[in-house]
């Protein structure tokens, strides 16, 4: 079954047209030939003009078709037109390549653009329009807080594209229990518990939590990106990983508790990159949580993780 499926998928064949050099040469030759054609045309035209009138034009056409030189000129001209169409059509297109290997277009990573601000005063509308975020059970003050939290990562176009990939909203549900400020993410929904208590902590603590959780939503929407992280960045900076987790992450249980080191490190890298780009002590899960370990100067201490995240998420 699988073999059959694979065979059905292998239906594309590459057809590559030589690059810009041959195209340019053809173009240059075409121009030169066109110049020659123009000169010849002028000479024939002069001869015909001397005789004047419609009949003479017909006679001229007759001259063109009865004269072997005329046929050759016409043939070369047609051939050159075809050559130009074939070559330049291919060059300006996808070079006849295998369409299955062309990656999806995406904005390139780079420095942040303008930090969004909510000018209308309608915070729920701003969250929806600027970030594709909906908040359930949140007060206006809490929604303002969440807007301010996400203004930082959403200033990076690639982050915005990844977290909204596939359409639909990122839903933030504010819930309550007796376990402090914590959360978890399922698909496009982030569940945050005891947000009032979270607000009693430093702004950066809850900003870290929400951006970390948004990393899980990015994985859910873009699992190939997370696979690339695991293959190219995860567990590569020895000073930054402990038990295969990025060590700022507090729940490093070794996978035995069902918390995946690769998924959590991916989400943690997304939080640490944007929270700790300025150097200093990188540790925002540590408010009363003894299990998170600080990383000093994240960009230089964790260059592989930092650079991968900067290139592929921000």
């Amino acid at each position: 079954m699988a073999e059959e499926q694979r065979e059905q998928k292998q239906g594309f064949f590459s057809k590559v047209i030589d690059g810009a050099n041959s195209g340019y040469n053809t173009y240059r030759n075409t121009r030169m030939a066109t110049k020659v054609g123009k000169r010849l045309g002028k000479q024939v035209g002069k001869k015909l003009a001397m005789q004047g009138g419609r009949a003479v034009a017909a006679e001229g056409a007759g001259l063109l078709f009865t004269n072997p030189v005329g046929w050759i000129i016409l043939g070369i001209g047609l051939v050159l037109v075809i050559v130009v169409i074939v070559l330049f059509g291919g060059i300006s297109g996808v070079k006849g390549g295998d369409l299955s290997n062309i990656p999806s277009p995406s904005p390139s990573a780079g420095p942040p653009g303008t930090t969004p601000t909510c000018t209308s005063g309608d915070i729920a509308a701003c969250l929806k329009n600027d970030f594709n975020i909906t908040v359930t059970n949140g007060t206006t003050a809490q929604m303002n807080d969440i807007y301010n939290i996400f203004a930082l990562p959403f200033s990076y176009p690639l982050y915005k594209q990844l977290i909204t990939n596939g359409g639909g909203y990122l839903n933030i549900n504010l819930l309550s229990d007796n376990n402090g400020c914590h959360g978890w993410t399922s698909g496009p929904s982030i569940n945050i518990y005891n947000y009032s208590y979270c607000q009693s902590l430093a702004f950066k603590n809850r900003q870290y939590l929400l951006i970390h959780e948004s990393g899980h939503a990015i994985n859910w929407r873009n699992p190939r990106v997370q696979q690339s992280f695991v293959s190219n960045a995860w567990n590569n900076d020895s000073a930054c990983y402990q038990s295969e987790y990025l060590k700022t992450y507090p729940l490093r249980c070794g996978g035995s508790c069902g918390i995946s080191p690769t998924r959590e490190s991916f989400a943690e890298a997304i939080a640490d990159y944007v929270m700790c780009s300025g150097g200093g002590t990188c540790q925002y899960a540590g408010a009363g949580n003894a299990y998170s370990q600080p990383i000093y100067d994240f960009p230089s201490a964790c260059p592989v993780t930092n650079n991968w995240t900067g290139s592929n998420v921000y």
């Binding site: 043939g75 959360g183 859910w220 929407r221 293959s231 729940l251």
Partner: protein, 201 residues
Amino acid sequence: MSRKIVLLIIFLFFLVLILLVLSLPAQKQPPPAPFVSPTPIQIIPNPRKEQSSISTIIPGKTSDSDLQKIIGEPLSRTKDGSLTIFNYATSQKNFTDTVSLKQDIVYYTVENVFDDSTYGTTSDFVSKIGDSYTKLYDNAEGLYWYIYLNQGVGVETNGSQVLKIVRFSPQDLSFFLSGIGASLGISQNQIPPNEGVSPAP
């Protein structure tokens, strides 16, 4: 008149010849130079015989010795209770496909999927195998599995992309959940992790 026809034939011959010359090199040209990725190429030690040969293994039938003929030596072997797990390299560093054996017979296999072209999307998969799947959950992030218990195959998905394929002998749900499901962290209900920044006030 006959001269015109001769010239016309010569012209058409010339035209066809030119078009042939133009089309032939395009097919014979070597493939374009591969795109040079800024990410260094990962060297995979001991690559197995064929990347996709895991799909030819038949759980419940393929034996330990057959397995090594088909797929070669694993990168490593681990034990998980009564299971012996063979780990095979994939095209991606840090990902291994696994073949789990019970009493020297393949019990189940897990293949990682890194693109949408090998097996298609999840909807492609469902359109080929049917919708008689049981939806089960991964242990985090909202990923889930479509498990075809009677066909002995399942896919891990985010709803659109296929991320893993598990193959096993056909079995009922309770047997699957207590065996393969337990090993792979697959359950009937989603179990949320409890990530936090602060304990209770």
